[in-house]
Symmetry: C2
Subunit: 134 residues, 2 copies
DNA sequence: ATACACGTAACTTTTGCAGTTGCATTAGTC
DNA sequence: GACTAATGCAACTGCAAAAGTTACGTGTAT
C-alpha cells in the first residue's frame, strides 16, 4: 500500500458496506478484500467506530456493521473521523525566530486552512451510498 | 525539520531574497540561516532554477539570485516548481480490480483535483515580495 | 468447553526524506 | 598556472512514520 492508505481503506470498506448494510463483516473478510491485514483494518475501523460511523461486536458471529444509514454517512465524515488533515498541518512549528519566516507561515497556513475547509465541504457533498453506481 | 520542509525552505529563502534581490547568496549562507545543509539547499533551489525562478553561478563569487523581479514570483510559482502536489496524488493506482474502488477513486480524485487547483489559485494571489511586511 | 471475533500492545519491515560525504567541474584571484 | 571558492551530482547513512506481523487478553454465541 501507499500514501493515504488509511483513508483509502476506510472509504473503500464503507462504500462496500453501503451496498449491504445489514451484513456483518469480519476484519478478516475486509482485510482479505482490501489486500491487507486484519489488525490494520481494526485499527482504521476503530477510529470510525469512535466517530460513530460503525459498530463492532466481539465474539462468535461478531464483526463490523454501519452504525447509520449509508445515506447519512458522507465522505467528509470518514475523512474527519481519521483526522488526517491532508492539507493543513496541525503542528504549530516552534518559535519562528525570523520575522520573514513568521509572516510567511501566517500567510501560508491561512491559505491551507481555507483549503482544508473547502476540502471537507466538498467531501461532505457525497455520501458513501452515492459512490457505488457513480 | 518536518513535513513540507522543501516547500518551507524554498518559500523562506525566496522571501528573504525578495528583500535584497541583487545580493548573491551561497548555498552555505542559506543553509546556515535555514538551519539545514548546503546540499539540501542546492537540491531544492535547483528545482526552482529549472522552473526559471532563480539563477545560479558556479565558481568563485558564485551563488544564487532571483531570476525575476520579486513581484513577478508568486507563491504558486514556487509551489509548482517543486511539484509537490500537496493534495492530489499523481500516481494512477494500478488496476482498481473492484468496481466500487474504481468509482470511489474517480470521485475522490475528482474532488482532490479541484482542491489542488484552488490551492494553486490562492497561492497565485500572493507574491514573495508581499510576504515580508505582512 | 470451545470456537470465533474484536482490542491492544509490542515488535519488525518498509519507505521516504533529510542529512552527510566525496568528488568532479567551473570560475575568479593571485 | 596554482589556488580557492562555489555549484552539480552521486552514493551512502540515519531517522521517523506507517504498514505489516505476532501474540495474547477479552467477550460471546453455540
Amino acid at each position: 500500500m501507499k500514501r493515504n492508505s488509511r483513508l483509502s481503506l476506510a472509504l473503500h470498506t464503507l462504500s462496500h458496506m453501503a451496498g449491504e448494510p445489514d451484513r456483518m463483516q469480519t476484519s478478516a473478510d475486509i482485510a482479505d478484500h482490501a489486500g491487507t491485514n486484519p489488525v490494520v483494518v481494526r485499527r482504521v475501523l476503530g477510529k470510525l467506530r469512535e466517530a460513530g460511523l460503525l459498530t463492532s461486536e466481539k465474539g462468535h458471529a461478531g464483526g463490523w456493521r454501519l452504525a447509520r444509514k449509508p445515506q447519512d454517512i458522507s465522505l467528509a465524515d470518514v475523512y474527519l473521523a481519521l483526522d488526517e488533515r491532508l492539507v493543513a498541518s496541525d503542528e504549530i512549528s516552534d518559535a519562528p525566530a525570523c520575522s520573514v519566516e513568521h509572516a510567511l507561515q501566517k500567510r501560508v497556513s491561512g491559505v491551507l486552512e481555507e483549503i482544508e475547509q473547502s476540502l471537507v465541504q466538498k467531501l461532505g457533498e457525497t455520501s458513501i451510498s452515492e459512490v457505488r453506481g457513480a
